[in-house]
């Protein structure tokens, strides 16, 4: 079929604006009702689900944290027993890393990247739907196992032999390992979508040097996911096999090795930190110019810093193993590589400060979160340099110093920007602004509460308090600080509660925002809030890194796309020259069915290796149904 065969009225140039929007809305719509909800492939709807789910997991993980602080507030406390406490801290860590931090960052990417690059849907939208269902199934699996007293109790790092066949009785560690599989499949799917979206679906003219920094950060993050997650997949699969079918990967008596687990886990685990952190700095790089009212200073160094961080991320994993007795020369190499990550981090911090320096800052809530981020994250970065030093690390490794360090990095470095980003992009998600007045309270409570809660933990570490202890005795002098920490955590909890209240309230009753409430420069603000199902009535054409600032009144766009099928523009990787009018798949139930079949197979395989054989058949059928052409206009080429 060629383009001549298509009647002219289905081209966007041939119809007036209102008709165009109506036709596009019909073509790209998600049907109402349950069927629509189960079949949708709209990146915005899926990302919103991802975000809501991730924040629910944040709240659940937060409750676990509060329980831990309750137990540790006093020495020899018997609020929780050791078995329950071990499940709780394992759940807290696994939940926060795998069910909150990574998915929430990817969800921001799924929502924003297609809008920021000016396209109509993410690449492989059905894979995107599948990804969400897998994530949801993994999260439910983990929490259900916890509710059934089968919650993993081996730490989020699940070191063998404690998690292995001999010492990890029952199915607890298997549920942990399989939850990993669920969330990794979901994360890998999103990573592929984002890479291809960024490579191929950028608006015409958005050459590499015009890509918004958040998009760059999501691109680097996606590559980190692609390169790092296979390591944990191999680790968790071999762990399950050791436990279920008696392989010997981690059995030293039969040629296996205990440290092999740690190598595999941290080869994933360290990049994991940057998988969470890089999107956050991307958010900061988006918010800083908007509120400094000045284009970002040092675009190229910032991009290079992102890429450098991504590369270095794979050269640091051994610094989690400094006390395992590895050769000392090798350890010194990893000291150097770990510390060198401070250079790209420093570049970014200096560039942000320079941007603020040269701008005229507008102190709205998102910027306040950025400032809280700078204050807190730099402390976390400093303590990161400290633990990179082998001798320093031998004293603080596996103590509360490290607990403090990574909460400074993950909450200060990632959650603060994320909360700022929620305030910043909330109007785009919902069409309504969050409350500026409550927002200031949220920043204040979270910032003060956080620092009061976590700073003393550095000192507890120096005083010799190890991590992962369910209680401590009267003869060690940790009681006063622990009580202080527990009390401070009330302030932090109050801040998060207020944040949730503000978000829920504003989603229903917030002030209507308009297209571009902050006067920002990037393409997501060039369409309505929330965007229509087709994102842009015409695909934008870009000739500047800050298109909405260089031409504030009119948006240059491209015409000539069909409106009777889901169509978008595919452009070249470097220059973003148009290459094809590609179709984007329509709604489908098959991703959900495939996810269900995969869920059955994965859960079953905890109990029987044959699940891999028999459970694959429904998956194959579902995939065939997914792939088989339905004769819609989207299949035309």
């Amino acid at each position: 079929m060629t383009s001549e065969a298509i009647p002219l009225d289905v081209r966007d140039r041939a119809i007036d604006d209102d008709t165009l929007r109506a036709r596009l809305a019909k073509t790209w719509a998600t049907p109402r009702g349950l069927w629509g909800a189960l079949t949708t492939v709209d990146h915005k709807i899926i990302a919103r689900r991802y975000l809501v789910t991730a924040f629910i997991f944040l709240a659940l993980g937060g409750i676990l944290a509060v329980l831990m602080r309750l137990q540790l507030a006093r020495p020899e406390s018997r609020v929780l027993g050791p078995d329950f406490y071990n499940q709780i801290f394992t759940m807290h860590g696994s939940n926060m890393m795998f069910l909150f931090a990574v998915p929430v960052m990817e969800a921001m990417g799924v929502y924003l990247v297609p809008l920021m690059v000016g396209t109509r849907n993410i690449a492989f939208p059905r894979l995107n739907a599948f990804s969400y269902w897998m994530y949801l199934a993994g999260g439910i699996t983990l929490w259900l196992s916890f509710a059934l007293n089968m919650g993993p109790d081996v730490g989020w790092f699940a070191y063998v032999p404690l998690s292995g066949p001999e010492y990890g009785a029952g199915k607890r560690a298997d549920f942990w390992a399989q939850m990993i599989t669920f969330t990794e499949v979901a994360a890998l799917a999103v990573a592929v979508e984002i890479v291809v979206t960024v490579f191929k679906q950028r608006a015409p003219g958005m050459s590499l040097n015009r890509i918004p920094l958040f998009v760059w950060s999501m691109l680097v993050t996606s590559f980190l996911v692609i390169m790092a997650m296979p390591a944990i997949m191999i680790a968790s699969s071999t762990l399950i096999m050791d436990r279920l079918v008696g392989t010997h990967f981690y059995n030293p008596a039969e040629g296996g090795d205990v440290l092999l687990w740690q190598h595999l886990f941290w080869f994933f685990g360290h990049p994991e930190v940057y998988i969470i952190f890089l999107p956050a700095v991307g958010m900061v790089s988006s918010m800083v110019p908007t509120f400094a009212r000045r284009p970002i200073f040092g675009y190229l160094p910032l991009v290079l810093a992102l890429v450098a961080t991504g590369i270095l991320a794979f050269g640091l994993w051994v610094h989690h193993m400094f006390v395992t007795g590895l050769p000392r020369v090798g350890e010194s190499f990893f000291t150097a590589s770990s510390m060198s990550i401070a250079v790209p981090a420093g570049i970014q911090i200096f560039c942000w400060i320079a941007t603020l320096w040269d701008g005229k800052p507008v102190f709205k809530t998102p910027l306040l979160f950025v400032l809280a981020f700078l204050f807190t994250f730099i402390i976390g970065g400093m303590t990161g340099v400290m633990v990179a030093s082998v001798p320093f690390d031998t004293q603080v490794h596996d103590t509360y110093f490290v607990v403090a360090h990574f909460h400074y990095v993950l909450i200060g470095g990632a959650v603060f920007p994320l909360m700022g980003a929620v305030y910043y992009w909330f109007p785009k998600f919902t069409g309504r602004l969050m409350s500026e007045r409550l927002g200031r309270w949220v920043v204040g409570l979270v910032f003060v509460g956080f620092n009061l809660t976590f700073f003393p933990m550095h000192i507890l570490g120096f005083e010799g308090m190890p991590r992962r202890v369910y209680t401590y005795q009267h003869d060690v002098p940790w009681a006063a600080l622990n009580l202080f920490v527990s009390l401070s955590s009330i302030v932090l909890t109050a801040g998060f509660l207020l944040f949730f209240i503000d978000a829920i309230r504003s989603a229903r009753r917030g002030v209507a925002a308009g297209d571009n409430p902050w006067g920002a420069a990037t393409l997501e603000w060039a369409t309505a809030s929330p965007p229509p199902p087709y994102n842009f009535a015409h695909i934008p054409v870009v000739d500047d890194a800050n298109p909405l600032w260089s031409a504030p009144e009119t948006l240059t766009v491209a015409g000539g796309l069909r409106v009777d099928r889901r169509e978008l523009v595919v452009t070249s990787v470097a220059e973003a020259r148009p290459e094809a009018r590609e179709s984007s798949p329509a709604n489908s139930i098959w991703p959900l069915l495939t996810a269900l079949a995969t869920t059955v197979m994965l859960i079953w395989s905890i109990f029987s290796p044959w699940a891999v054989v028999w459970g694959s058949i429904p998956i194959a059928i579902a995939l065939t149904g997914w792939f088989w052409p339905k004769g819609t206009p989207e299949d035309e080429a």
Binding site: G81, D83, A147, L148, N149, M150, P161, G164, P165, E166, Y167, A169, G170, K171, R172, D242, R243, L244, V245, G246, H248, Y250, N251, P252, A253, E254, F607
Partner: protein, 190 residues
């Protein structure tokens, strides 16, 4: 749980709750870790009644009342496996395939597969070399060991059965039903 079910008016919700509870209870039992057995329960668990012939009998009431603890609880079974090694059982029974003592893996036992028989065999010993462990193990530990021995001789593995040890391997682990792989269903009577 029952209270919640009774208070719930909506029949569909009630049905769901009951379904969830029936699914949940076996799981809870299988993974529960009872770290401290109350002393009265422990001593009551010692009261097995053995048939005069020395084979089979009735477990104490508390055993049934607790819905056969130790038989399918993953933690107890793994403790039983550790006790098997710690108490020197392998010296005579090997990895379960027998040595100077009879094999335990084939599930074809002289005094039968009944829990009471196994319990009494461990506690009191048997003529022909099986020593008494009454002075070496507590009642709870003997029950853990009993539960483990039963998974050792099972032809179809329980999901709660222990996995392999971090040691030299001589046979598939209990969660893979080694008896089915290593022995015929009806081995010779020794």
């Amino acid at each position: 749980m029952a209270g919640i079910v009774r208070r719930t008016a909506n029949p569909l919700l009630r049905l769901l709750l009951i379904a969830a509870a029936t699914m949940a209870l076996p799981a809870c039992e299988r993974e529960e870790r009872t770290l401290r057995l109350a002393p009265p329960v422990a001593s009551a668990l010692d009261g097995v009644r053995l048939m005069p012939i020395g084979i089979g009998g009735a477990p104490p009431e508390v055993y049934s009342a607790l819905e056969k603890p130790f038989a399918s609880n993953a933690y107890d079974l793994s403790q039983g496996k550790r006790l098997y090694n710690w108490m020197g059982c392998p010296q005579c029974h090997g990895d379960g395939q027998g040595r100077s003592g009879p094999p335990l893996l084939d599930g074809w036992w002289q005094y039968g597969p009944d829990v009471v028989s196994v319990f009494v065999t461990i506690r009191d010993g048997r003529p022909g070399g099986m020593p008494s462990f009454r002075d070496k193990l507590t009642t709870e530990q003997i029950w853990q060991l009993t539960g483990y021995i039963q998974t050792l001789g099972a032809y179809s593995a329980k999901t709660a059965a222990p996995s392999r040890d971090d040691g030299p391997q001589t046979r598939p682990a209990e969660n893979r039903a080694p008896a089915a792989a290593l022995f015929d269903k009806f081995p010779e009577i020794r």
